[in-house]
């Protein structure tokens, strides 16, 4: 018994003696997505402190990146945020292109945009679905996941993989949009909207849903910025900030879309921001597809890139708006064919470190709701 206690001390820091109950949740727990672990101290059912413990999926991606060539590292980026692998791929490709000083042809940019927005929809669908499951609403999850299969179908047609896409290459994309995409997209647009509508009808005005989410873990904008929040989490707090608008990359400055924002930063606002963003993504794909159609059929897809990529010495940082927020790649090159240092700036890393501030004073059941709404992906959290 004494030995066990000692172990707990090592992993959680000193245990205070008091009237609090220490409750360990995770790392394998149905509500802890993947490998997250939170050590909470509770007074009754109220949380006094919640210490997240991470690293259970630390796979050494950054070290691996230093030992692989620039092109070899691309498939590893899939395994960061596996819910929307394409966003990782494009972020990495764009960072290397910035290092090389390349400009990608417009057709490739549009294909990247279309695929990224599809990935964004798929990511938000998982997040909303799992949020429902964790709060006891199973049905929307089933509606959304069957819909997601159709998005996966498009990915499969384009680059041959469902989940770990490895889309494109440094310098462009390897393939044009598949022919079947042209028939599929109008139908898919309707089914995405239908699935979202069904989810909306099932959840948004549901009394139980509203009770479980409205006012839970409200967070103010100043704190959110101080903690380094980005993406839907920050927008739910009422800050209108989206890298697609602020630092337009690809051709996002040529399409019109809104940035949905919340007000209170509670679980309901995060859910609503994600739901509305899916609608905006559909709009973006529509416009990008229209722009794509204007281009000639034999427009180039790839910029000429040497087989062995050797960027000049220097260091750059490039960030894009991934479904979770600002996903950045810092690459330092020493002039050889391998990056000298790769640092990934995962969006949910910054969000998850504020977890104690988010849930302090709430109930245990609200902790689960909070964690699901953050959409923490262990792969990119631990790298």
């Amino acid at each position: 018994m004494a030995k066990q206690l000692e172990t707990i001390c090592i992993t959680t820091g000193p245990v205070e003696v008091g009237d609090y109950v220490t409750l360990n949740i995770g790392p394998i727990h149905p509500a802890m997505h993947g490998t997250l672990r939170v050590i909470t101290k509770t007074d009754g059912e109220t949380i006094v402190s919640a210490k997240p413990e991470i690293g259970y999926l630390h796979r050494g991606v950054e070290k691996l990146g230093e030992n692989l060539t620039y092109s070899q590292f691309l498939p590893i980026t899939d395994r960061l945020n596996y819910c929307s692998a394409i966003c990782n791929n494009v972020a990495y490709e764009m960072a290397v292109e910035k290092l090389l000083g390349l400009q990608v042809p417009p057709k490739a940019q549009l294909i990247r945009m279309i695929m990224m927005e599809l990935a964004r929809i798929a990511d938000h669908q998982v997040c909303v679905g799992i949020l429902g499951v964790d709060l006891g609403a199973l049905t929307p999850f089933f509606y959304l996941i069957i819909q997601r299969e159709e998005i996966y179908e498009i990915f499969e047609w384009h680059h041959g993989a469902r989940l770990t896409n490895s889309m494109g290459a440094i310098g462009g994309v390897e393939a044009d949009l598949p022919e079947r995409f042209h028939e599929k997209w109008p139908k898919l647009r309707d089914t995405i909207r239908k699935a979202n509508d069904e989810t909306d009808k099932l959840l948004t005005h549901n009394r139980i849903w509203m009770d479980r989410t409205i006012g839970v873990n409200a967070f103010c904008a100043d704190d959110a910025l101080n903690w380094g929040f980005t993406g839907p989490m920050l927008r739910a707090c009422g800050v209108k900030r989206d890298l697609r608008k602020e630092e337009p990359y690809l051709m996002y400055d040529e399409v019109n879309f809104e940035i949905p924002t919340g007000k209170h930063g509670d679980v309901f606002d995060r859910y609503m921001v994600r739901m509305l963003e899916m609608e905006e993504s559909v709009k973006i794909i529509d416009q990008a597809y229209a722009l794509y159609k204007e281009l000639p059929e034999d427009a180039p897809l790839m910029k000429k890139v040497p087989k062995i990529i050797k960027p000049p010495e220097g260091q750059i940082y490039h960030a894009i708006e991934s479904p979770n927020g600002e996903l950045g790649f810092f690459i330092k090159s020493d002039g050889s064919d391998k990056p000298y240092r790769i640092k990934i700036r995962p969006p949910c890393y910054m969000v998850y470190q504020a977890f104690e501030d988010l849930v302090k004073g709430e109930m245990i059941s609200d902790l689960i709701a909070c964690l699901s709404s953050l959409n923490v992906i262990a792969g990119e959290l631990d790298r």
């Binding site: 220097g314 810092f330 700036r345 910054m350």
Partner: protein, 185 residues
């Protein structure tokens, strides 16, 4: 007024070096003044958002440069007095990525940390966002942050001995395994 001039204006003589590459500005500041510099940049420069914080190990870079120099020296048979200078070069860098929310400008602030003095003041007082990144730098490079509220290993387990992202640590590790205390008994 460009960003370069503005930063130079704000920092004055705290600015050791300034480097621009593909539009990314990287400034080097002295190690002892990092908190004051970042506070100044936050207050006067408008860089109010800490995007990220991480370390870089320059061991291989210096080794490569030394090799190159040696080669060129052998070719030209010049006997320079560069040997003493190389050993002085600090091994680690810590880079702070700052972002201005109003103007959307990014700035890399770099501090060099020598191997015999692996300590930096923490910036968690300025941005709470520096909490985990600083722990990660400690975990991966062994650089300690003075005044950090909870400086423990973040990604590796507590009993782990090495610092994996250092360049002299092998990719496949040294065969460490994790045991819990009640596993061993």
């Amino acid at each position: 007024m460009s960003l370069k001039d503005r930063v130079a204006d704000i920092l004055g003589k705290d600015l050791v070096a300034l480097n621009e590459f593909r539009g990314d500005l990287c400034i080097e500041v002295p190690k002892g003044r990092i908190v004051q510099v970042l506070a100044k940049l936050k207050e006067e420069g408008g860089f109010d958002f800490l995007s990220d914080l991480f370390g870089v190990d320059n061991l291989d870079l210096y080794a490569k440069a030394a090799k190159k120099k040696k080669k060129s020296q052998e070719e030209s048979e010049d006997t320079g007095e560069t040997k003493g200078k190389e050993s002085v070069q600090p091994r680690f860098e810590v880079i702070y990525l700052l972002l201005s929310l109003s103007t959307n400008e990014r700035l890399q602030v770099m501090v060099r940390v020598p191997e015999d003095d692996l300590e930096l003041p923490t910036v968690t007082g300025l941005w709470k966002a520096a909490n985990w990144p600083e722990r990660e730098v400690f975990d991966m490079f062994g650089i300690r942050f003075k005044g950090h509220p909870n400086l423990r290993r973040l990604l590796m387990w507590d009993e782990f001995q090495d610092h994996p992202l250092r360049k002299d640590y092998p990719l496949e590790g040294k065969g460490e395994e994790r045991h819990l205390n009640y596993d061993i008994a």
